[in-house]
């Protein structure tokens, strides 16, 4: 009974696998240190790039004696994965590797990640903990609309759902009309997808005459891209579900690095497997807990592909205050922005999430938009194209012009920059079924417009 209370009781069953969520801090730190030493040794022994970088610093695994020694280790960055494409960072022979995944590779070669059987088990366990934190349990029917395939989202979520004992509907991404049909006909109670795809799904369901608020659907587990609080409010209002944010990246494991609990106030990091640091992205210096900076992660138990101090490019801060849910593992603040997504225009740093918040602040504006950066007569300009849906359309020109100006003022108020707002026809902007692409930088295109 005590175990039931201390462990993760989701109401209809509890999961001993979730026990590390509630470890006393001292015990957790001890576990982390033991695992850290082992993973550094493993990487040093099997990954030439890591060994060279350690040698350059006159470091050996034996010098890692405490958790704070992490900061002495060299960083790993995304280009390291590209430069060693495809298998250069593997620490296990292919005979022990049971799975490969790869990124979509929008900027050149994809990055490849590998898993041993033990890695898959760890992955399933952290995804189980992710779903448990969102209150998913045996008996739930969960539609998994993350893409199955090379992308880690689909299979990662799938294994976690099976582990928790839920009924999985492996819908994968795309075919939105069919997704709506499955949601309705199967009595689906929870869904996994990117938040932008779910917004698209709400919109399409509405076109098909299906109001998601009338269905048994009660929870959404959304990740793979940064999304704003305003977007969450919109999703929860329009679909009547609770929308949980999850965090992960292929380089570390896939989804399952961190997840929100019922408090929906920051994401618990599964610290027993992923050791977090926050650094100043410019200097690389480690910042104190609570300070905002770039998240750096070290995989403590990965075997096939250990990542030592991987720079995620995600901007967040570590929350040390205890969470009302009782979990002892620390939280990170929701990731609203990536140092990658940021664009600099006329010397000002702008994040797509700021523009999104601005659009959502204007009542009735749906967040189907894109940001196009152009260079016009030598000056950088931001163009924001916004689709005109039924909420903002009016038969009166004056009302449309007023809406246009309200949207433009809202963006200017939040970013401090003048922008050109264009109202465009519904469904005319490109839709993504994976990660939403928001920014189209045409400043270096040859043809100036």
């Amino acid at each position: 009974m005590l175990l039931r209370e201390n462990w993760n009781d989701t109401g209809q069953g509890f999961h001993p696998v979730s026990a590390p969520d509630y470890l006393p801090a001292a015990q957790l730190r001890e576990l982390q240190l033991r695992r850290l030493k082992a993973v550094v040794e493993r990487a040093y022994e099997h990954v030439p790039l890591f060994r060279e970088r350690m040698n350059e610093r006159d470091l050996t695994p034996a010098r890692i004696e405490s958790l704070s020694d992490v900061s002495r280790l060299p960083f790993t960055v995304k280009t390291d994965l590209r430069d060693t494409y495809p298998f250069g960072l593997f620490a296990s022979p292919m005979s022990e590797i049971v799975r490969l995944h790869a990124s979509s590779g929008t900027t050149g070669k994809p990055i490849v990640v590998a898993y041993t059987q033990e890695d898959i088990q760890v992955w399933s366990s952290v995804m189980l903990r992710t779903f448990a934190a969102a209150g998913i349990h045996r008996g739930d029917i969960v539609q998994n609309a993350y893409g199955y395939g090379l992308f880690t989202g689909g299979l990662g979520a799938h294994y976690g759902l099976e582990a928790i004992g839920a009924t999985v509907v492996p819908a994968s991404g795309g075919n939105t009309d069919r997704q709506v049909m499955l949601l309705r006909d199967f009595g689906v109670t929870a869904i996994c997808s990117t938040p932008s795809y779910f917004l698209h799904l709400i919109e399409r369901a509405h076109d098909l005459g299906v109001d998601l608020r009338d269905l048994p659907l009660r929870a959404g587990i959304f990740g793979a891209e940064p999304w704003s609080t305003a977007m969450r409010d919109r999703i929860e209002k329009d679909s009547g579900i609770k929308a949980y944010d999850i965090y992960g990246l292929s380089e570390i494991i896939g989804p399952g690095v961190g997840s929100e609990c019922s408090a929906q106030d920051g994401l618990h990091l599964f610290e027993d497997h992923f050791y977090p640091e926050i650094i100043d992205p410019a200097t690389g210096e480690v910042l104190a807990d609570g300070e905002e900076g770039e998240l750096v992660l070290t995989t403590l138990s990965k075997r096939a592909m250990p990542m030592i101090r991987y720079r995620t490019r995600d901007i967040t801060r570590i929350i040390t205050e205890p969470c009302s849910c009782g979990r002892t593992i620390r939280r990170i603040q929701r990731i609203g922005r990536r140092s990658d997504d940021m664009f600099i225009i006329r010397g000002v740093n702008v994040f797509p999430s700021q523009i999104e918040s601005a659009l959502l602040a204007v009542e009735g504006a749906l967040p189907h938009y894109r940001i196009v950066l152009k260079r016009e007569r030598g000056l950088d300009q931001i163009h924001v194209e916004i689709e005109v849906g039924p909420e903002i359309f009016s038969d009166k020109v004056s009302a449309m012009e007023e809406m246009h100006d309200r949207l433009a003022h809202s963006i200017e108020r939040i970013t401090g920059l003048r922008v050109a707002v264009h109202l465009v026809e519904p469904h005319s902007l490109p839709r993504s079924e994976g990660k939403a692409k928001r920014v189209w930088d045409e400043r270096n295109d040859e043809q100036e417009r």
């Binding site: 076109d207 005109v388 849906g389 039924p390 359309f393 009016s394 038969d395 009166k396 020109v397 004056s398 449309m400 012009e401 264009h422 109202l423 465009v424 026809e425 519904p426 469904h427 005319s428």
Partner: protein, 143 residues
């Protein structure tokens, strides 16, 4: 007495107006009259058609955003002063006009003015009180 008007959002791009009209014609929706309000970036197309609900559905199916609005169709003599007389009476009654457009069925006969009043119900009452012939939807669509 009110007439249902379709309005739709048209981007200022080649082919968009054509595609909207084609959506209507391929669904067999006949256009009686229309008006296109344009700005530098977009236009708002307003249409009076034989079957407004079918027309709205056809446009939405083709990916357009469309809505139905109540407008008032008023008959005026097709001669100098016909419209002026109507507007004078609308002014007397203090009726707010958002926009309007007109068409005549044959030269020298009567003209029909489509008016989007701020308050169509009050407009119909006031105009009829002042002897203006407000046309019913059924009758209008026969012309």
């Amino acid at each position: 007495m009110k007439v249902s008007q379709i309005s739709t959002f048209i981007e200022n791009r080649p082919g968009r107006l054509h595609a909207a009209c084609e959506a209507l014609s391929s669904s067999g929706v006949n256009i009686h009259t229309l008006s296109l309000a344009d700005t530098s970036e977009f236009g708002i197309l307003r249409l009076i058609v034989a079957d407004p609900v079918a027309g709205k559905n056809a446009l939405e199916k083709a990916g357009y955003v469309a809505k139905l609005t109540d407008v008032v169709a008023v008959e005026v003599p097709d001669d100098a002063g016909g419209l002026t007389n109507l507007l004078a009476k609308a002014d007397q009654a203090g009726l707010g006009i958002e926009y309007m457009y007109a068409f005549s069925t044959s030269v020298g006969d009567r003209a029909i003015v489509i008016i989007r009043f701020t308050d169509p119900d009050r407009a119909i009452e006031e105009l009829q009180k002042r002897g203006i012939n407000v046309i019913e939807a059924v009758k209008l669509l026969k012309t």
